[in-house]
């Protein structure tokens, strides 16, 4: 087994956070695509509590949960770019907002493909509000991390591949409500370390439609 292994799923934004962090740090790793309908022994052994991807294996030792993996990568390879800044307050803010992405963006995003009618309308309103809060947090900066990619950029970037899906489902345009965030998304996608990790937005939309077919509200 290679020294660094990532157990992941092609379309997972959580897995993509790890891929972006590893690429940004220039860390060579082995990517192992997982079949979640038939979970591998390695996955079950490495994450017995949640049995979920992503899992990072470093020297055979597992790290689970995408934001914890990204922090681990930052700490185990303390080279530029430093994803979490040195200042404790800036670190606290980055952690708070990354947690916000998990709690709000992912939840609203799921409801957008899953729900219909009034529930869908609510999901749309909630998503626009959540994106607005992130837009405000970005302020006029190039990245949430300032001049270069930071922890919150890594946490949110994979979800930009889902913007088209959110827009199609909710009938709104991200650029109209959050022009700063839309520009940030373009800026991220222009970077190799991010672009190489993200799924094509059309493929994401196709994937979301299959999820809707299988699990959506009728």
């Amino acid at each position: 087994m290679a020294d660094v292994v990532l157990l992941d799923l092609w379309v997972s934004p959580f897995g993509q956070r790890c891929r972006i962090a590893l690429a940004a740090k220039g860390v060579a790793y082995e990517y192992r695509e997982q079949d979640l309908s038939n979970k591998s022994e390695l996955l079950l052994r490495s994450n017995p509590v949640h049995r979920m991807i992503p899992v990072l294996l470093h020297g055979g030792r597992p790290v689970c949960e995408s934001l914890l993996i990204v922090q681990y990568i930052d700490e185990a390879w303390p080279v530029a770019p430093r994803l979490l800044p040195g200042d404790p307050y800036a670190r606290a803010q980055a952690r708070f907002w990354a947690d916000f992405v998990d709690k709000k963006i992912f939840d609203c995003g799921t409801r957008l493909w899953k729900c219909n009618g009034a529930a869908l309308e609510q999901a749309t309103r909630d998503m626009i509000e959540a994106l607005g809060a992130l837009e405000a947090e970005l302020g006029g900066k190039d990245y949430f991390g300032g001049e270069d990619l930071g922890f919150l950029d890594v946490a949110l970037a994979p979800f930009t591949a889902w913007f088209r899906t959110y827009e199609q489902c909710g009938g709104f345009a991200v650029a109209e409500h959050c022009p700063g965030l839309a520009a940030w998304a373009d800026r991220c996608r222009g970077r190799d370390d991010v672009a190489s990790a993200l799924t094509d937005p059309d493929k994401v939309y196709e994937f979301a439609l299959t999820l809707k077919e299988k699990f959506g509200d009728k």
């Binding site: 681990y72 404790p88 803010q93 947690d99």
Partner: protein
């Protein structure tokens, strides 16, 4: 943290918004372990003050730490901030893998363990409740397995990040168990975790910021109905 993080001088006032909550306790114990003087601004969820709403507009919850002109919400974010911003014994270990593990199990406490405990506590007696109680005990077992062999705390010889994250299990679970008439954590099933809970509760610093449990019981008892409805919604 090996590198010198920017530590603010202790002069700017430190205030903590919150009261009578296991999440507030986490923030208090972290501050006390670091020897940081602070003022507790009592604010309970029923009467959200303008101060709270101004400083945590996103989630509108306690605790919120105010340090000079900085405001930090979310208890575990606060604990990491306190660890990094102030001198004193480290709450998180230095090794990246150990740090990831402490954070992982802290999230487990919040995301999995408390949900399992909650539904087991407040579901109506019957077959379903018995199954939920078994599940809750399994989660307690997973947490118990993280106690280092022969050590008093998850953090080793001293209270650390995971002890603080799990403090609700030591201090609040007994109160909820009494209210609900349900026993989930017992010496017979979890001897090591019970030993830990006693060690944690008896610690001198912890005692300074542990609310009086009789008062807690009086404060929480009227909420029993609400707890049962949230448990119903969670189990659904």
């Amino acid at each position: 943290m090996e590198e010198a993080a920017a530590k603010m001088p202790e002069q700017p006032a430190v205030k903590l918004i919150g009261w009578l909550s296991p999440y507030v306790h986490r923030a208090e114990v972290a501050l006390r372990l670091k020897g940081v003087p602070y003022e507790l601004l009592q604010d309970d969820m029923a009467n959200k003050s303008d101060l709270l709403l101004a400083h945590n507009p996103v989630h509108k919850k306690v605790p919120v730490l105010l340090h000079g002109d900085r405001s930090i919400p979310e208890s575990l974010v606060i604990v990491e901030y306190v660890d990094e911003a102030f001198h004193g014994p480290p709450l998180l270990p230095a090794d990246p893998l150990a740090r990831a593990a402490a954070r992982f199990w802290a999230r487990f406490v919040d995301d999995k363990l408390w949900k399992a405990l909650w539904v087991a506590l407040w579901t109506e007696p019957g077959e379903a409740q018995v199954a939920l109680a078994t599940s809750a005990r399994e989660s307690l077992t997973l947490l118990e397995a993280q106690l280092p062999e022969g050590k008093r705390f998850f953090g080793g010889d001293a209270i650390g990040f995971l002890d603080i994250a799990a403090s609700g299990v030591a201090l609040w679970l007994p109160v909820f168990e009494e209210m609900a008439g349900v026993t989930l954590l017992a010496d017979e099933t979890h001897p090591a975790l019970c030993r830990w809970a006693r060690e944690y509760a008896a610690d001198e610093i912890v005692r300074q910021c542990t609310p009086d449990m009789t008062m807690m019981l009086a404060f929480l008892t009227p909420k029993r109905g609400m707890f049962m409805s949230t448990a119903k919604a969670m189990a659904a």
